[in-house]
């Protein structure tokens, strides 16, 4: 998670000021794959720990209060886990939908924690959240399949 967070902050930042939230995509992919595993509890708890470690690393690198990114990642992961518990994890739409929902929650929590009452929500949603969510969706499927391949022996 430390390496992923470093890569996200340094290598994946775009000139427009956005960066691909690699940690979020990996955590959500891991959560979805864990839900379909033989022992989902073990996998989900492991993914929640990823979210905490990755989030704390992002906080240190991004100079936000320690716990800010961690809370955003944990909230997004928990919501996805709760929503996905009764659906079958198949096809390519589920990962995309899950990352979309997670991304919205992640961005909302970050906006609330970082900007608090200083933002105009309609402008923020249009200029910050929407591009961030779209950038998140682009690499979702390759990363999901890569995580599935990496975790093939643990599921």
């Amino acid at each position: 998670m430390l390496v992923l967070a470093l890569v996200q902050v340094t290598l994946l930042s775009t000139p427009l000021g956005f960066s691909v939230p690699l940690v979020l995509i990996v955590v959500i992919s891991g959560a979805l794959l864990s839900m379909g595993a033989a022992f989902p509890d073990v996998g989900v708890q492991r993914v929640l720990r990823w979210a905490l470690y990755g989030g704390l690393t992002l906080d240190i690198l991004a100079a936000t209060y320690l716990g800010t990114h961690a809370l955003a990642l944990l909230t997004a992961t928990l919501v996805v886990v709760v929503l996905a518990r009764r659906i079958r994890i198949e096809g390519i739409m589920i990962p995309l939908l899950a990352v979309l929902i997670a991304s919205v929650i992640y961005e909302l929590v970050l906006a609330l924690l970082i900007n608090r009452g200083m933002i105009e929500w309609s402008t923020y949603a249009l200029l910050i959240m929407l591009p961030s969510i779209l950038i998140t969706l682009i690499p979702t499927l390759p990363i999901f399949f890569l995580v599935r391949w990496l975790l093939r022996n643990q599921l």
Partner: protein, 302 residues
């Protein structure tokens, strides 16, 4: 007969076995969320500053290397793909472009300098002054004081009391101020429009001259006024006003002794009379607020 091939296979994929998510995972998740909130609160109070700084210090070199790699990747992506010879040619052309841009800038500077030097030469032909050109670097931000700073100082021979002149297109060379203070490389020029500026002046009209004291009127809502002119002397609208150089003529040990006589200042716009004296509002030939380049009169050839 039972066709075994038509039977649907038994699904054994683990992903299709739905198991209810245990309460324990949710509790772990909520516990970690609480931990994150606690960390935010503690960091907000500055209690984690040293630990955070320690980790940041450890991660900084790695992050710097990665950011450097990112920069190199960006540079590579921005460069045209293809033959190495094309890239070498591109670099060569970029260097050539930089060199030409430098030359162009120098040429433009030389042209500007040439214009100012021609003006200076022309002024020196017409007047017996030794001039030193200077650029206006700063204008006073205070509306209550009319001062400019020029990019010449004592190292260039400037001294307080020296007259500063300028010229606007189509107009005569005229006084705009007096050096008030001089540093090694810069000097403050008190503009003639400032109320604290007082210089002796002479009005030329119908072959007769009238002496008076010229004072700035900016703070009074005007520009210049000629005071204390004898009521018996002719003052007419449109008459030219020049410096009188009385301090130098009287050999007074004052800074203003450096101001030569006969520097054009402006023209009379309106004449008023009060008791035994006349007053005249003047319009300066050169608006001091418009100048960007000035000349300091270093001395006068006798």
């Amino acid at each position: 007969m039972h066709d075994l091939l038509n039977d649907k296979p038994i699904k054994l994929r683990r992903s299709q076995i739905r198991l209810p998510l245990g309460l324990r995972s949710l509790l772990v998740g909520l516990f970690l969320c609480g931990l994150a909130v606690l960390l935010i609160a503690l960091d907000g109070q500055g209690k984690l500053g040293s630990a955070r700084a320690f980790v940041q210090q450890g991660l900084a070199p790695v992050a710097q290397v990665l950011t450097g790699i990112r920069g190199q990747v960006d540079a590579f992506a921005m460069a045209p793909f293809g033959d190495a010879a094309i890239q070498a040619r591109l670099q060569e052309l970029e260097r050539e472009n930089s060199r030409l841009a430098d030359q162009l800038l120098r040429l433009e500077q030389a042209q500007v300098e040439n214009v100012f030097l021609r003006q200076q030469l022309q002024i020196q032909r017409e007047h017996p002054w030794t001039l030193l050109g200077a650029e206006v670097t700063v204008r006073s931000p205070d509306a209550g004081r009319r001062v400019i700073v020029i990019a010449r100082g004592t190292r260039d021979g400037l001294a307080p009391g020296m007259a500063v002149i300028s010229q606007l297109p189509g107009g005569p060379t005229a006084l705009i101020g007096i050096v008030e203070a001089a540093g090694p490389r810069t000097a403050e020029v008190l503009l003639i429009t400032d109320i604290s500026s007082q210089i002796s002046a002479r009005v030329m009209n119908e072959g007769r001259s009238a002496l008076g004291m010229m004072q700035g009127q900016w703070q009074n809502g005007s520009r210049l006024r000629l005071n204390q002119v004898d009521r018996g002397l002719p003052l007419k609208q449109g008459a030219s006003v020049m410096t009188a150089g009385m301090t130098a003529a009287l050999n007074l040990p004052l800074d203003l002794a450096s101001v030569p006589s006969n520097i054009p200042v402006g023209v009379i716009e309106e004449v008023r009379t009060a008791e035994n004296y006349q007053y005249a509002d003047l319009r300066p030939f050169v608006d001091p607020d418009q100048v960007r380049y000035v000349w300091v009169i270093l001395n006068q050839d006798d």
